[in-house]
């Protein structure tokens, strides 16, 4: 009976969360900086090749700021990253930012479609399992989950690619596509691949959370006032199970992001994962650096988004 949870407290909560993200981002940047310095291989040699003369190497180091004292390098690095100045690719001299800007949408697209499929199948499966506990439907869902966990996604991806693209020709074999429908056509199989394990995970999580919620007193209250089962399950049950589910879906999104690396390779589609892999094989430090930072910012962003969703889902957070 104190604060009724107006917009003011909510804004403050969000600001606090944002402030929380600042040290995380700095930490990430610092780790990337350190990692780039202790990575094996000389970036100058990597960029210019074994045949480069010492003078050429020296010139390159000077140009890239690799000769400056470490603390200055660090400050320059952090500043560069924060202003999205990622430099240029050592391989083809393209702006790293432009490379990321081209590839990022494909990864986001893949993640979003995979999540929609995963959540869209996982939640109903979980509801089915929870409402038919220990019956045939529950066992079937359990079997599906085990399968989802057991099959590695790159293997499943290859399987789907061979079956539906190569043999049946229903889906394109590689690339990202142009225009909305073509892109959706391209993203479908990779997204299904990632979605399987997601649906398995979210299905299990939904089942567990729902069963826990079904034991709560307010579910009994809902029945006692005359609510029928569908209303009890969805309005009262699932609505409360969303709290633990939000965390799970957030974590699952992060997992998709890293899972997309392998999937982008298998399906040979553009994306941050693929960009990173080729940059690593070519020791393109500038691109690796930019890619890792963007990846990490993504993680921070998803965490922030999760906090936002919590606010929507749990009224108790709004007032604290």
């Amino acid at each position: 009976m104190r604060d009724l949870g107006g917009g003011k407290t909510m804004a403050r909560y969000l600001l606090l969360r944002l402030a929380d993200a600042v040290p995380t981002i700095l930490l990430v940047l610092t780790l990337v900086f350190i990692a780039m310095r202790i990575l094996p291989g000389d970036p100058a040699i990597a960029a210019l090749g074994d045949m480069a003369t010492p003078e050429q190497l020296e010139l390159f180091r000077e140009k890239m700021g690799l000769n400056a004292p470490l603390w200055l390098q660090y400050i320059n690095f952090v500043w560069g990253m924060l202003t999205l100045d990622f430099g240029r690719s050592l391989m083809n001299n393209q702006s790293v930012l432009a490379l990321i800007a081209y590839n990022l949408p494909y990864t986001i697209e893949l993640t979003i479609v995979a999540m929609i499929l995963g959540v869209g199948f996982g939640i109903p499966l979980g509801v089915l399992a929870a409402t038919h506990r220990n019956k045939a439907a529950d066992n079937a869902v359990r079997g599906f989950s085990l399968l989802g966990y057991a099959v590695p996604d790159f293997y499943l991806g290859a399987l789907l690619l061979i079956t539906f693209s190569l043999n049946l020709g229903w889906f394109p074999i590689n690339g990202g596509g142009e225009g909305f429908f073509d892109r959706m056509h391209h993203v479908f199989l990779p997204a299904v691949t990632l979605a399987l394990v997601k649906a398995a995970f979210i299905g299990r999580l939904t089942r567990t959370s729902l069963l826990e919620v079904f034991g709560k007193d307010y579910i009994r209250t809902a029945r006692a006032k005359g609510a029928r089962e569908p209303r009890v399950i969805y309005r009262h049950g699932l609505r409360n199970a969303l709290l633990p589910l939000t965390t799970g879906i957030g974590l699952s999104t992060l997992a998709t992001l890293s899972g997309s690396v392998a999937i982008e390779l298998v399906f040979n589609r553009p994306g941050i994962g693929k960009l990173l892999i080729s940059a690593i094989s070519e020791r393109d430090y500038a691109v690796i650096q930019g890619g890792v930072v963007i990846f990490s910012l993504f993680v921070v962003l998803i965490n922030l988004l999760m906090d936002l969703v919590y606010i929507v889902v749990d009224p108790r957070i709004r007032v604290q």
């Binding site: 009976m1 104190r2 009724l4 949870g5 709560k216 007193d217 307010y218 009994r220 209250t221 809902a222 029945r223 006692a224 006032k225 005359g226 609510a227 029928r228 009262h236 609505r239 409360n240 709290l243 889902v313 749990d314 009224p315 108790r316 007032v319």
Partner: protein
Amino acid sequence: MTVPLLKVDNLAVEFGPKANPIRVVDGVSFEIPPAGAVGIVGESGSGKSITSLSILRLISEPPGRIVQGRIEFNGVNLLDLPRSEMPDIRGRDIAMIFQEPMSSLNPVMTIGDQIGEAIKLHEDMPGEKRRERVIEMLRLVGIPDPAGRLDSYPHQFSGGMRQRVMIAMALVCNPKLLIADEPTTALDVTIQAQVLDLMHKLRRTLNTAVLLISHDLGVIADVCERVVVMYAGRVVEEADIRSIFRNPQHPYTRGLLQSIPKLDDDRDRLYQIPGSVPLAGSVKKGCPFYQRCSLRIDKCAQEMPPMFSFGPDQRAACWVTAGQADAKAKEVAL
């Protein structure tokens, strides 16, 4: 005698595997007249909650099941109705509130929505009118500034206020019977008195019959006219409040009365019935109270005492007191 609003007859509930069931409620019978108030008293585990949940068929099945008896509401045996018809009765004809006000309300729904839902489930009422009805109900149960509290969530209320909200939600469709399962047990004493007061007041204004469950005879005496005393899943005594306090006939009821704290009490510790309640379903033979009874005779260990009638308003299941009251007591056909 008037036609009862609710008549529970020879109810039995079992838990566990069918092959080896545990009978936690056995042969329970009692009646509630229209607008009457009946209490069920008994120690923890005596089957009060299971009995009351059975009336609305809210026992979760599995693991529990009603295996025998009738539950007649307005002459209709609820146990004969198809399961799909129960939601129409719940909340509209018979409403129920529970012991734990902290957890009995949905934490992610506003108070207004939760009470409004109870109306929506049973009545065709336009949104604006529904809102007014909710406000009126909240005012009736003594929530200050009811219009301003519609959009509040349960966690923004204290325990006592939440129980008031529960009562408002239960009574919003004008049920003919309100089942209250230990509605005040989780509250501290002053709040407890306020909530009981409220129930008392509402009973008179709304003419709702009440089944009040408590392990505290004092609480029941405050609200009810009749009491059902339960022990180990059975009714051991049933009488009007006056007879229970003046002339209890079952040794267990006498023990319960001795353990009620009194204002002029100068004893350091309250009387407690020695021993503990037998595990549900563990008594297979003889009187369930045998282990703890100071009046017991050999017969008690062998034969389960039936209900004896002690005058028009009192029945109790005890061989010894029935024998003492001799002429008056006669076996009631079960």
